[in-house]
């Protein structure tokens, strides 16, 4: 029950409470706000901006031709695939390193400064170096994605592994559990929520990384698609790619939420 429900429980005064309630119902509100925002965008662009600037009607006009365009699909596929690959690599490496750091003090002390400072670094900054090492190709994009995602996973897994509640470890010890079984039965599940939080962060960073890499390296992908089309003043087309990116970002979020609800029902955030 949220704050405001408390207040809404106050006797509803005024006329036609039914209509009022309908107007105030969340879906109606959300859709209305969406329409208002789109109209505002359309209006502002029409009045103030040059003709080529993206606006809802323009985007709607080109939308279907763009999403059925092979080049666009290839670009979207390339970006998505790179992000997924990068995330998988980063998750595996990050979990390994994070768990090691979380459970083995020497590893933690040895790596702490590196992992923490690279976690705090905007990964765009190392793009020029990465292109030198990996070349101007998809490998470099993958490398940037992995770099961007790895540290948030490692840091979070490490936090998770370190903050396994002592009481659980105590229970395990009391039942004479062996170290491996403790790791699998307790440390891993108990740091899962942290891992998920890390993945949420990592997914966002990975998307940024892939777009930036494509800007910089000029290889096919949504970032490049945006760059090319906006440079040729086809903003509406380019914006479809932005929408695709938003969808990807939001779906990552949704998938993680779903996974949390479905498989980690106990890890609710209160």
């Amino acid at each position: 029950m949220s704050t405001n429900q408390v207040m809404l429980e106050q006797p509803a005064a005024g006329f036609a409470p039914g209509a009022k309630r309908l107007l105030a119902s969340p879906p109606v509100l959300k859709v209305a706000a969406g329409i208002v925002l789109l109209c505002a965008w359309e209006g502002v662009v029409r009045v103030f901006a040059p003709a080529y600037v993206a606006k809802p009607t323009g985007i709607a006009r080109v939308f279907f031709s763009v999403v059925s365009n092979e080049q666009f699909l290839a670009a979207a596929g390339a970006t998505l695939w790179a992000v997924i690959q990068g995330l998988v690599i980063a998750i595996m490496l990050g979990m390994a390193v994070g768990l090691a750091m979380g459970r083995v003090t020497v590893v933690e002390r040895g790596l702490r400064y590196y992992v923490n400072s690279l976690f705090a670094t905007p990964m765009i900054a190392i793009l020029p170096l990465v292109t030198l090492w990996f070349g101007y190709n998809a490998d470099a994009r993958l490398a940037v994605i992995v770099f961007a995602a790895f540290f948030s996973i490692a840091v979070n897994t490490c936090d998770g592994a370190r903050s396994v509640p002592l009481e659980y470890l105590e229970v395990a010890r009391s039942f004479r559990a062996r170290p491996l079984s403790t790791l699998l039965d307790i440390v891993l599940p108990s740091s899962l929520p942290y891992l998920i939080a890390g993945m949420r962060l990592a997914a966002g960073r990975a998307l940024v990384a892939s777009v930036v890499a494509e800007f910089f390296i000029s290889i096919p992908g949504l970032g490049y698609y945006i760059l090319f089309n906006s440079r040729t003043f086809k903003h509406n087309e380019a914006f479809v790619a932005v929408i695709a990116l938003v969808i990807v970002g939001v779906s990552f979020e949704a998938v993680l939420n779903w996974v949390t609800r479905r498989y980690l029902p106990w890890a609710r955030r209160d």
Binding site: L29, V106, P122, I124, V208, A241
Partner: protein, 253 residues
């Protein structure tokens, strides 16, 4: 025993830092200078640019951009977030869109900003702003959603007026969440700053990196990156400090 373990703790850290420095230095002798420059040269380059004043100028330019963007994001994000926190209708209407924008990789908008607003200071500030503002909004709303209804009820039980409710409950409760948002904004804003300096008109530390890479001046490139790493770490710590500072009562968590 206590001092011994502390010594051991420092030892591992020192060994690891020294090892890192050594690897950095030695790696340079196994590749060409274009790929990697030794630590000594990097530090030399850093000292050189500090001496010539380039470093100061570029860092100031970056900082100006960063602080302006971040400051605007805070000024706009926090009050608007609080407003959304209290006005349920607004919040319900907008929260999904804000979450969407929170999940959007804002770099993708840079080409549009470039061709619409050009290349001056303003569009760069806009980029930093866009990177920074949504974490603040998002977290403030999260805070508002998680506000403990008991506390609002207490306020009502004591016959609190609307503005007293704001003063005594809403703002104190949401502030730490806004601070979490600001911590995230501090980190994201830095990314925004570098992105703006890369992809809009080069300036500041971003320009140093670009120039270094273009001229195969790897020492200069590494120097600039090192600087950004240090900056990132400091800002991250600052963010954490702020987060703690504004919620001494959060000790129970």
């Amino acid at each position: 025993m206590g001092s011994e373990t502390r010594w051991a703790r420092h030892l591992t850290v020192i060994v690891s830092l020294l090892a890192g420095a050594a690897v950095w230095e030695i790696a340079a002798y196994f590749t060409t200078r274009a790929f990697w420059a030794p630590l000594s040269e990097t530090v030399g380059s850093l000292a050189e640019s500090a001496r010539s004043g380039v470093l100061m100028r570029q860092a100031m330019s970056s900082f100006q951009l960063y602080l302006t963007g971040l400051g605007l994001a805070i000024l706009a994000g926090a009050p608007f977030g609080l407003l959304l926190a209290r006005v349920r209708v607004l919040r319900v209407a907008l929260e999904n869109y804000i979450m969407m924008l929170y999940a959007t990789p804002m770099v993708a908008l840079i080409p549009f900003i470039l061709s619409m607003m050009g290349f001056g200071f303003a569009p760069k500030v806009l980029v930093v702003f866009l990177f920074a503002v949504f974490p603040i909004l998002y977290n403030t709303i999260e805070g508002a959603r998680s506000i403990r209804p008991e506390l609002v009820e207490v306020a009502h039980a004591f016959r609190s007026s609307e503005w007293q409710l704001w003063r005594d409950v809403m703002i104190p409760y949401t502030l730490p969440f806004a601070m979490t948002g600001i911590r995230q904004a501090i980190a994201r804003g830095l990314v925004g700053m570098v992105a703006a300096e890369f992809f809009l008109s080069p300036s500041g530390l971003g320009q140093m990196i670009m120039m270094g890479s273009q001229n195969f001046d790897t020492a200069g490139l590494l120097a600039a990156i090192l600087l950004i790493v240090v900056l990132g770490v400091c800002l991250m710590d600052l963010g954490r400090y702020l987060e703690r500072r504004f919620a001494p009562w959060r000790g129970y968590e």
